[in-house]
């Protein structure tokens, strides 16, 4: 090892973890104080934070996997909506067959939803890689197509057998405060937490991830060393589509249990914001989604309590204003992957 300017250990630790650590400690202390004052409300708000953030994290993961490989995806909203619909229909029709127990039906329905999201991911890759179409247009095509198809084939009065139920993780779920919030959730919520870690690991610590990022930053260099740019972009966009699909089925099969027209309600676009907010990293996106989820949960809680002098619309603005303030005040400029949005021409 060559000698470098020696930086004290504490400074290295602070540089890496200081600001984030401070924020996390402040948040934890805040939660603790709030829990001692009112355990029930605190648990409810935290639970709702996690629920609200789940589709946003998944959507943001979809967005960042695509963008890391150079494909801008503004069609997350459409992918979610389409998958939500497909998963719901699968649940209804497989349920009507009556040959599987409910658990299997739901599992199949989730898989159908993921496949539906992946299919639109493939469409995005086909448009942007093969047809070299403008990617903003490609995403818009997906959004409108999803609104149109789900609206056209929507039927009133379809009912399902049920939705995904919370799975309690044994004794962990009995820990006060943390237990009910973290260890007593329906499956997609667990999978989401797992996916944040997995995507982070794959993206930054595996060969696949390195290649994906190279394709997003400097495709011709990646091509020179033998990385198949087109394949990497296709594969990542399809996988990302599947993750957006999971966000969609979260809405129909885990959160609500039924499908409504336009039920994604802009979550795909908020996920896009969450992705940029988190600077194209899984953990950043997770944090941003939690912040947004928390603001939404607070809003619901404040509305629930009622007796407030502030009109409810102002509370309704809270998550959005908070995002703007945090973004403008603390996050500032963020740098997207260099080659995103540009179709790659092989020479």
């Amino acid at each position: 090892m060559e000698t470098t300017i020696s930086v004290p250990i504490w400074k290295q630790v602070w540089d890496r973890l200081g600001v984030m650590g401070t924020i996390i400690i402040v948040v934890l202390v805040g939660i603790l104080i709030s829990y001692m004052r009112d355990p029930q409300v605190t648990s409810a708000v935290l639970n709702s934070t996690l629920r609200q953030s789940t589709p946003l994290v998944l959507g943001a993961l979809c967005g960042l996997i695509g963008e890391r490989t150079g494909i801008i995806n503004i069609g997350i909203e459409g992918q979610m909506l389409f998958a939500a619909f497909a998963g719901f229909l699968a649940n209804v029709y497989i349920g009507q067959l009556g040959i599987f127990p409910l658990g299997v039906t739901l599992l199949l329905a989730v898989l159908v939803g993921i496949a539906a999201g992946a299919l639109l991911g493939w469409l995005l890759a086909f448009m942007s890689v093969t047809l070299k179409m403008d990617q903003i247009i490609g995403g818009t095509v997906i959004n409108i197509l999803a609104i149109g198809l789900t609206g056209y084939f929507y039927q009133v009065g379809l009912t399902t057998q049920g939705k995904l139920q919370p799975i309690s993780l044994g004794f962990l779920a009995d820990i006060p405060l943390i237990g009910p919030v973290l260890f007593n959730n329906p499956p997609i919520t667990y999978i989401t937490l797992l996916l944040v870690v997995v995507v982070h690991y794959v993206l930054f610590y595996t060969r696949w991830g390195l290649r994906s990022r190279a394709v997003g930053e400097y495709p011709s260099a990646a091509d020179t060393v033998g990385v198949n740019v087109y394949f990497m972009r296709y594969a990542n966009t399809i996988i990302a589509g599947g993750i957006a699909g999971l966000a969609g089925v979260f809405l129909t099969l885990e959160a609500v249990g039924s499908f409504e027209r336009l039920m994604t309600n802009g979550r795909g676009f908020v996920a896009l914001a969450v992705m940029i907010f988190g600077k194209w990293t899984p953990f950043g996106a997770w944090g941003a989604a939690l912040l947004f989820g928390f603001a939404t949960a607070m809003q619901t809680q404040l509305q629930f309590q009622g007796d407030l002098a502030i009109p409810h619309q102002f509370i309704g603005m809270l998550p959005y204003l908070l995002t703007i303030v945090v973004l403008a005040g603390f996050v500032g400029r963020s740098r997207p992957p260099a080659a995103e949005g540009i179709p790659y021409e092989k020479e």
């Binding site: 818009t140 997906i142 896009l272 603005m317 959005y320 949005g341």
Partner: protein
């Protein structure tokens, strides 16, 4: 790939007829192909495509009233399309046209109902200008945030859309609520007759203003220094900075003018169509602006036919739902395919053997810096 199959000869010597064919073949081909796919979906789902399309056309162009409805639906789309296209020219993605439009719509309504006794020649333009100014301010805000804090306009405009929904909802259900006895819904009072933007026969005057604004936008972008600077910033912000263009100022100005266009669209919707502000009545007009801008290849003159096309589908879809019993969302599916084929123009050029005219559009050079 079409170059090998078409008859030889360079593009310059081709006649004007050839040129018109080259520019119109793709959009026309795209509409036809998309309609074909729509027909297939209709047929598969058990509907009669011919009946459905007949009703769609009857409802949008069947008589002068239907045509008027098409223009009515197209008017706000021209504005939101211009707003999005204008921002694109500076490399900015204004997803916030929706919010700017809402703010413009409600401020125009306020000026429209609260001031009494003005002659129409003053009152109507005043409300329109107030709405446009509100939209401009609401657009300037994310522009300034981007310039001074680096906050990405894609995020801030998305967030501001939701803020605008809540804000207008509050105003229409609170301080500016319609207090006529019997009214329970959230809406503002009806605007004064003097603030209304009239019709000439079946043609809404708002549509004429929309065309005028498209010309103004074109003039501003291609015939003025400021337009040159905006386009330069869009093509290469660093180069623009190096060339002495004030990029920060240009970004704020572009977002302001983009917001102004959207706000104006909202004001005209209030003054010319709805007659008041009511939450939900302007839903998605701003988002449709993205589609219109892309379909119009982000050119101000491309926006007009694009808005007319989408306006016609909106106008005709109720007729189609009513007389052919076809859910009107099929028009969204068709719209998606039109956009697809216009953008993937190589498919149609290959089918029709027609050559490309003009530059290919690219918008997605990332989220900017």
């Amino acid at each position: 790939m079409s170059d090998q199959t078409v008859e030889e000869g360079n593009g310059r010597s081709s006649g004007w007829l050839q040129r018109i064919w080259n520019t119109t073949s793709v959009p026309v081909g795209a509409v036809l192909l998309a309609a074909l796919i729509g027909a297939a979906i209709l047929a598969i789902s058990g509907a009669n495509p011919l009946d459905a399309y007949a009703a769609l056309i009857k409802g949008s162009f069947g008589d002068s009233a239907a045509f008027g409805r098409t223009l009515e639906k197209a008017t706000p789309l021209v504005f939101s399309g211009l707003a999005v296209a204008f921002a694109f020219k500076a490399g900015l993605f204004n997803i916030g046209a929706q919010g700017q439009l809402l703010v413009g719509a409600i401020v125009a309504a306020y000026v429209g109902f609260s001031i009494e006794g003005l002659p129409a020649i003053i009152h109507a333009p005043l409300a329109l200008i107030a709405g446009a100014a509100a939209g401009a301010l609401y657009g300037a805000f994310p522009g300034a945030l981007k310039t001074y804090t680096g906050a990405n306009e894609v995020i801030t405009t998305i967030m501001l859309n939701y803020v605008a929904i809540n804000l207008t909802d509050f105003l229409a259900d609170g301080p500016w609520k319609d207090l006529t006895p019997g009214n329970v819904v959230a809406r503002t009072p009806k605007i004064m007759d003097s603030a209304a933007i009239p019709f000439i026969g079946d043609i809404p005057v708002g549509f004429l203003i929309a065309i005028l604004m498209a010309v103004v936008t074109w003039w501003l972008l291609w015939k003025t220094t400021i337009g040159f600077e905006i386009r330069t910033v869009g093509l290469n912000p660093h180069g623009a900075q190096y060339a002495g263009i004030k990029v920060a100022f240009t970004v704020i100005l572009t977002m302001t003018l983009s917001g102004l266009l959207a706000g104006m669209g909202g004001a005209i919707e209030t003054q010319g169509i709805v007659g008041r502000f009511q939450p939900g009545f302007n839903a998605n007009l701003g988002f449709d602006g993205i589609t219109v801008a892309l379909l119009g290849k982000t050119h101000p003159f491309g926006v007009i036919p694009a808005a007319l096309l989408i306006g016609a589908m909106k106008a005709g879809s109720s007729q189609m739902q009513f007389s052919a019993d076809v859910a009107k969302e099929i028009t969204d599916v068709i719209m998606a395919f039109i956009l697809f084929f216009v953008a993937a123009d190589m498919i149609i050029r290959w089918i029709l053997r027609s050559r490309a005219e003009g530059e290919k559009i690219t918008l997605s050079s990332g989220w900017g810096s």
